[in-house]
């Protein structure tokens, strides 16, 4: 029996490592770290069975601050490392931590394939629309015109929309939240309970190199008018007093913002969220004037690591117990006397 039997109930401190947190003062990463450390115990996670795997970036320093197993790998490769780990031990609860550069620039290909294979992982992409660790160059999610050390006259690259990319890659779970959101834990637990690859984009403020890019969305005052919190089966209402909503114009297939009560619009005109509707999720990835938060899409599909396991089991029952002696003799042999 192991020297310290897993405790019944864990607390936040059980998930906090002894390493001093070294992000810039005011960095959004602090809030995300706190949310994760607070949420894990409530989800029944145990430090020994939890693994955080990251690439390189400010965000990717995350594992050092968790008192779980952790692997700070190389730039962009965390999804591949995590896939190998899950194949070695599918029982582990594996979280991938990545950034908009780590996950969508150098790591875009691995993110694509981990999502399409639907490996049973939680993937948290910290999107601060900047390369933080390398001191502020624009990233694949930076808006056009972003002035940075490598784009003195403004970036001319069209940004990628992370949730859109994820759907295009065939993701079975796509959610969005932001660093200081009270509701970040909801997204975390939804992701953890999802079988397969759960992708969460987390809007994160980088006060040093990209301060305030999300203020309109996350600001206390401006927030309510710009946050559309999705709830499966519920009409898509938002606004300071929930007066606004989204209406579908079927011919143009677009969601338009309307005000309930104004020119004849009633609750019935408001689209009801259906997490399992792929096309609806697609429309929600990039709305004009408002940002959809919460679970955009959730539709479980075959899980890669499970399928691999099943196939191994199948092979075992079909071909029987391993027999090295027989293996070396399969096919034609002869004897020299």
């Amino acid at each position: 029996m192991s020297p310290n039997p897993p405790k019944k109930q864990y607390a936040r401190k059980d998930f906090s490592s002894d390493q001093e947190v070294r992000w810039c003062p005011g960095c959004g990463d602090y809030a995300i770290l706190a949310a994760v450390q607070r949420t894990l115990p409530s989800l029944g996670a145990t430090p020994e069975n939890t693994v955080f795997i990251s690439g390189i970036g400010c965000s990717s320093r995350f594992p050092y601050y968790m008192n779980t197993y952790g692997f700070h790998t190389i730039h962009g490769r965390a999804p591949a490392v995590a896939t190998g780990l899950k194949l070695a031990n599918p029982d582990l609860d594996v979280w991938v931590i990545t950034g908009d550069g780590d996950g969508l620039s150098i790591g875009g290909n691995h993110l694509l394939h981990v999502l399409r294979r639907n490996v049973n992982l939680q993937i948290m992409l910290f999107n601060n629309q900047i390369y933080g660790l390398t001191k502020g160059q624009y990233s694949p999610t930076s808006q056009v015109g972003k002035v940075s050390p490598s784009s003195p006259l403004g970036s001319v690259d069209q940004p990628v929309v992370p949730t859109r990319f994820a759907l295009g890659a065939g993701a079975t779970f796509v959610a969005r939240s932001y660093d200081i959101s009270k509701r970040l834990p909801e997204a975390l637990s939804a992701a953890r309970t999802h079988d397969g690859a759960a992708f969460i984009e987390i809007l994160q403020n980088c006060p040093v190199f990209n301060d305030g890019v999300f203020d309109l969305i996350t600001g206390r005052k401006t927030g309510p008018a710009h946050q559309l919190w999705l709830a499966h089966g519920q009409p898509m209402r938002f606004g300071t007093d929930g007066e606004k909503g989204l209406r579908m114009s079927p011919d143009s297939l677009t969601l338009e913002i309307v005000t309930v009560g104004e020119n004849g619009i009633t609750e019935d005109d408001i689209v009801v969220h259906d997490e399992t509707n792929h096309s609806l999720a697609w429309m929600l990835t990039d709305l004009p004037g408002v940002v959809a938060l919460g679970v955009l899409y959730r539709e479980p599909g075959p899980v890669y690591d499970e399928s691999v396991g099943k196939q191994r089991a199948l092979a075992e029952e079909r071909f029987g117990a391993p027999d090295l002696e027989a293996l070396l003799r399969q096919g034609h042999t002869w004897t020299v006397t």
């Binding site: 390493q19 069975n49 090295l324 070396l328």
Partner: protein
């Protein structure tokens, strides 16, 4: 053909040969590889020693009849033990003009040439680039030509069975095989059984192929063969008793990995991205799921090695296989495994470079990349297999070293080993001492970088173990506790320790010793990898000529074995033949300051024995003057 003194006296009934080299050549569609492997099996049954070398076209399916569509299979069989598929063939089977065109230059003068005249129509002649039919312009007079319309003979032999002409035509290779069986006195039985198995679902095809096989054989028995062409016998060789099989290098590597993992009591996670000539490793291992093997066909080589590293972190044996360009892509991640000190095996089945190079040809030009091709001071262990069968033993050794020292190990093979097959004495698995891994599970005083005094290995503590939660990564770590450390002296120390750990592996290797010849002499020929057969055969020849030459073959490329320096200095000169532009030779010069000379061949082909013999003679004579 080497005719033994004994047999020279009276030619018939069957002339006895000590050894013969036969090459089957035809269109990709003619099934020459199958023919060759069947002849190999029958030859093994006849108790000869043998070595084979298949030679595919670079294109998947080149247009029929073209020279670049020619597929060849060479077999060397003998009454004594041999090490290579032989240099120039004594016998050439050419199923079409293109096959003849490509191979006439290599066939020995006086050699036996079997041609299928049925394929020598205008069209094929043109495709092969012949203006006039070589069978008619006397250009083949230097050979003993056996020209038969094999196509016609085959069709006759299967008439009545009711095959379509296309399928009937396909039996040509079996007819030819039957004839060759008769010529060299091989048994048909194993092939007949094989045909029954192969066409179990299509009995007509089985029947037809067997009919063709027998017809070819009968043709040999009855037909009046031209003067100078008779039947031969190649007596059985005196081989070490035991159970044998044919094995290719990739097959042996796959089995060696599985055996090594068994000895280490681990499961394997093999991450790979297909690439010639390493793909078969992935194919073979994907069929061994019930041996505790998980295969992961990754999106690219980087993901493949990254997944292997993740698996090793998780307590499986992470293995990744590829060829040169793939190793280049993996080099950053290999550095991560070195920095985090996780076991990892990287198999590099070398091919012609640089860049895409010559994907289907063999070469030894990744040695520098294997030993030195990473950013920073990033040492690892490099092993190299000498023969197809040796791939098995080297793969087991790679596993042993990787888990004992918690280090990446690079195993070098090449296209020649990967595809070439040789009779292989099936090893006695009992004779391997197991080396079961003991994972760390005691939290008492645990730190991820507290090392074993003897091996300098760090503990292997895997996720899921209560109380051992820890973080690793590619940033420099503080010796012992393993936290990130920017301390200058610590970095210096860690760099030295990483190097020392690898150097220490040398103590675990057999000390350097010659494979053939004395421990001192006029010249030491130092080889590594797939040149083993050619070097050892040529050194044997040279010693028979009384030359004071010895052969040392390195299986441990890095660290180099102990005692190597003294050995090198015990010889008048050192020659290092390599299938590259001179790589190992540079390591030896820098490590031991011996004036080792390089002999290079960068032609995508193995050394010919004659090449090596002449190179050595020429140098020794020079030094005599």
């Amino acid at each position: 053909m080497e005719t033994s003194a004994a047999s020279r006296a009276q030619p018939s009934p069957r002339e006895t040969l000590d050894s013969v080299v036969i090459r089957f050549a035809g269109d990709s569609g003619d099934g020459m590889q199958l023919t060759g492997s069947q002849f190999t099996t029958a030859t093994a049954d006849a108790g000869n020693d043998l070595a084979t070398f298949p030679d595919f076209p670079a294109e998947i399916r080149a247009p029929a009849g073209t020279t670049y569509g020619v597929s060849g299979f060479q077999i060397h069989l003998a009454a004594h033990d041999i090490r290579t598929p032989g240099d120039a063939p004594d016998v050439l089977v050419a199923m079409n003009p293109a096959a003849l065109k490509v191979n006439t230059k290599v066939l020995k003068p006086g050699g036996l040439l079997v041609v299928n005249t049925g394929a020598f129509g205008k069209n094929n002649l043109a495709k092969a680039g012949y203006d006039v039919n070589p069978l008619e312009d006397g250009s083949l007079d230097r050979f003993r030509v056996l020209a038969l319309d094999i196509t016609k003979l085959t069709l006759q032999s299967v008439k009545g069975i009711g095959l379509g002409s296309k399928e009937a035509n396909r039996c040509k290779n079996m007819w030819t095989l039957g004839l060759m069986y008769w010529l060299f006195g091989r048994e048909r039985q194993s092939t007949i059984e094989w045909l029954h198995r192969k066409f179990a679902k299509r009995p007509l095809l089985a029947q037809a192929n067997i009919a063709a096989l027998n017809a070819g054989h009968i043709y040999g028995e009855n037909a009046e063969l031209p003067h100078g062409i008779g039947a031969y016998r190649v007596p059985a060789a005196k081989l070490e008793p035991g159970e044998y099989r044919n094995v290719s290098g990739n097959q042996a590597t796959a089995w060696g990995l599985v055996t090594g993992a068994r000895l280490a009591n681990l499961e394997i996670m093999y991450g790979s991205y297909p690439i010639t000539p390493a793909s078969n490793l992935l194919h073979d291992l994907s069929r061994l799921k019930h041996y505790g093997v998980t295969t992961f066909q990754a999106e690219d080589e980087i993901a493949a090695v990254a997944a292997a590293i993740g698996a090793s972190f998780g307590g499986s044996l992470g293995v990744t296989g590829t060829s040169g360009p793939g190793v280049a892509l993996k080099s950053e991640a290999i550095g991560l495994a070195i920095s985090t000190e996780l076991p990892l095996i990287v198999v590099d089945v070398q091919r012609g470079g640089p860049s895409t190079g010559l994907p289907t040809k063999t070469e030894q030009s990744d040695l520098f990349q294997a030993v030195l091709g990473r950013n920073g001071d990033a040492p690892l262990v490099v092993l190299a297999a000498a023969t197809p069968g040796d791939c098995f033993y080297m793969a087991v050794e790679a596993v042993r070293v990787a888990v004992k020292y918690m280090t990446p190990v690079m195993l070098l093979t090449d296209g020649y080993l990967a595809n070439g097959a040789e009779p292989w004495k099936i090893p006695d698995l009992e004779s391997f001492t197991p080396f079961p891994v003991s994972f760390r599970n005691d939290p008492e005083g645990f730190h991820p970088f507290i090392r074993d005094k003897e091996t300098l290995a760090r503990p292997w503590a895997t996720p899921g173990t209560p109380g051992l939660e820890h973080r690793i990564g590619g940033l420099e770590k503080q010796e012992g506790v393993g936290h990130i450390s920017y301390d200058p002296d610590n970095h210096h120390m860690m760099t030295k320790i990483r190097a020392a750990k690898i150097d220490r592996v040398a103590k675990d290797f057999p000390t350097a010793s010659v494979d053939q010849g004395d421990a001192r002499g006029d010249m030491l020929v130092v080889g590594w990898g797939s040149t083993y057969g050619a070097i050892s055969q040529s050194v044997r020849t040279l010693r028979e000529q009384g030359r004071k030459v010895s052969h040392l073959h390195l299986r441990n490329i890095w660290p180099l074995p102990e005692g190597l320096g003294e050995l090198l200095r015990s010889f008048g000169s050192v020659l290092v033949p390599e299938l590259n532009n001179g790589q190992l030779v540079k390591l030896l010069r820098s490590e031991y300051l011996v004036d080792a000379e390089s002999l290079t061949k960068i032609a995508g082909q193995p050394f010919r024995i004659s090449e090596l013999v002449e190179a050595v003679q020429e140098r020794l004579n020079r030094s005599l003057q």
